[in-house]
Subunit: 187 residues, 2 copies
Amino acid sequence: MDTAERLIRSTQELLWERGYVGTSPKAIQQHAKAGQGSMYHHFTGKPDLALAAIKRNGEELRAEAETALSRPGTAVEKISAYLHREREILRGCRIGGLAQDADVLASDELRAPVTETLDWLRRRLTAVLAEGVARGEFTADFDPAATAATIAAVVQGGYVLARAARSEEPFTQAVEGAEKLLLSKQL
Amino acid sequence: MDTAERLIRSTQELLWERGYVGTSPKAIQQHAKAGQGSMYHHFTGKPDLALAAIKRNGEELRAEAETALSRPGTAVEKISAYLHREREILRGCRIGGLAQDADVLASDELRAPVTETLDWLRRRLTAVLAEGVARGEFTADFDPAATAATIAAVVQGGYVLARAARSEEPFTQAVEGAEKLLLSKQL
DNA sequence: GTCTATAATTAGATAGAC
DNA sequence: GTCTATCTAATTATAGAC
């Protein structure tokens, strides 16, 4: 693995763990075993490197969500697969956590991949649920867009509750509660 | 308002806006219009002052949630009142945001009020829903604890999605989706 | 209680040698 | 491409005068 790649992956880890404000160039260099001159040769500075890392984290999130959502079966089965997919719960969401970071929100460039990734997720969940409606899997009053937002929020909020409690239990409970509510809309 | 009080309130604002890592003593002093000597006279340092501010933010969150949850009516009416209570959505949750802050999570002292506040919230929501079950307001398979975790997570996650999108819409959708799902469990 | 001076450490980067 | 030296500003305090 070359130096630029090691720098990006180290930054992905550190952004996930400590956010943008809490991640220093020095910490990145040490984690990547790269010198200062090396980092500034490959990237113009911290924001440039962070942008590459955030984009990469977004791509990885999409790929993992897509794996669950594209499995065969009913809409509820796909959503359940997404809700129960393997996660490092106590690390939180590699993208959602950055939505809490003031410096990321303040920068149009850094915020863009965060916005786009979470927008994509809601759209993808909406599509899965809308397809379920088209196939007659749900009761008549079912609202795909609102339910998709609820699913995405339960996962993001589950991470928040779990990290605060230092326990996976609140995440698990929140997800199971959502799943049970969803099941009761299924015909 | 005396100096110590101004320092605490300023820290509350800044922690809410920028988190612990992103809030410097200097920024606090300027916001509070207090000198450096003044701050270090009243508090031993940044962690001490932050602890006072986090505790205060927790108390305020409880008071506001309690106002909605103690209104008269059915369990669903109370939960709806909580979900739709007035919020500064784009600022996020004054407590939940800190669950994403590495320095807060790493400190037992600073993490404690965050943990306790969100635990209290889940317990309080569980109690409201369990009372509804006792009154026969819900279908037989209804799970108060899981649903309470779901409600709390939807709110926390709604904040995350809204901040990422710079729009209140994802929060509103997530909350309305949750409300509709809950209503379908009501007898 | 508040103010100013001082200071050790880190953040974030530039310059130029190799 | 990588390394070391250098630099300015910010962070997080402490000390002592008023």
